[in-house]
Symmetry: C2
Subunit: 140 residues, 2 copies
DNA sequence: TTATATGCAAATCTTTTGCAAGGAT
DNA sequence: ATCCTTGCAAAAGATTTGCATATAA
């Protein structure tokens, strides 16, 4: 078992999943790969440690992470899916010109989710709050 | 020129786009197709009026609508892109069991978007506020 | 031991594109 | 008369799947 982001292994086992070295490595890569990486980027980073880990496994693992709350799925139609290891309440601003993603923390979002759940009986597994447009730099 | 959703033609022309019969028909189909239809569903509805309109045109047109604010793009990775003609402030709750999409209106969302724009200089073209999980019915 | 997870390569699907023809302004 | 749009069919990509093998618990 490799060293890893604190409690990733435990989070997996708690939910009934196995803490494989691939999953641990993918979790680490997700954090190391910079801002909101695509699956392909995570795969590249993972390859630095273990080049035998397949792209298919990275796909499956990131989806699993999203399901059990270790990551959030994001991205718009015209690009491949990205993942964010930061699952705290924040909005993503995606610039369609330069491609950069900025975060904007907004605590209230959690309150909104909680309120919607209470009033509707919906059980949230994943969430996304995204703005798609042009960032300050690209507007100049 | 066909009759259509009020001011669709004008909205297009105002932005410098042509008000073609295909675009008008696609806009109508988007409204008629029920809750948050996929591109394919819109295409099916459009075909009832004009079976010669191609899927490619439906793709292009719905993307255009999203860009000029006549629709909002939505949907998660494991399904094809959906479009919502209601561009008002609301959250989408997408049930991954039954596939249904529920809306939950939340006026405050517009305030949040406005505030984020003011503080960051970001110019919003599209937005999505989505929860992905299990609806009340499917939890029973 | 045994149910899960992985890796590979093929298969699927959605979405995009190039281009000639058509049509809105 | 122009330049934007459309339709078609092919291309491009992203994501998923089947299955044999490996492995965490």
């Amino acid at each position: 078992m490799l060293a890893s982001r604190p409690d990733t292994a435990e989070a997996l086992r708690t939910k009934g999943y196995r803490a494989t070295p691939q999953r641990i490595a993918i979790c680490d890569a997700l954090w190391e790969a910079g801002s909101h990486p695509t699956v392909a980027t995570v795969h590249e980073y993972v390859a630095k440690r273990d080049p035998t880990i397949s792209l298919a496994t990275v796909y499956k693992t990131l989806q699993l992470f999203a399901e059990i709350g270790l990551a959030t799925e994001m991205g718009f139609r015209d690009e491949s899916t990205r993942y964010d290891p930061d699952t705290g309440p924040h909005i993503h601003m995606i610039c369609r010109n330069c491609g950069r993603v900025e975060d904007y923390g907004w605590e209230e979002l959690d309150d909104i989710v909680r309120a919607v759940e209470e009033r509707t009986g919906f059980k949230t597994l994943g969430k996304r709050f995204e703005l798609y447009g042009t960032c300050r730099k690209c507007r100049k």
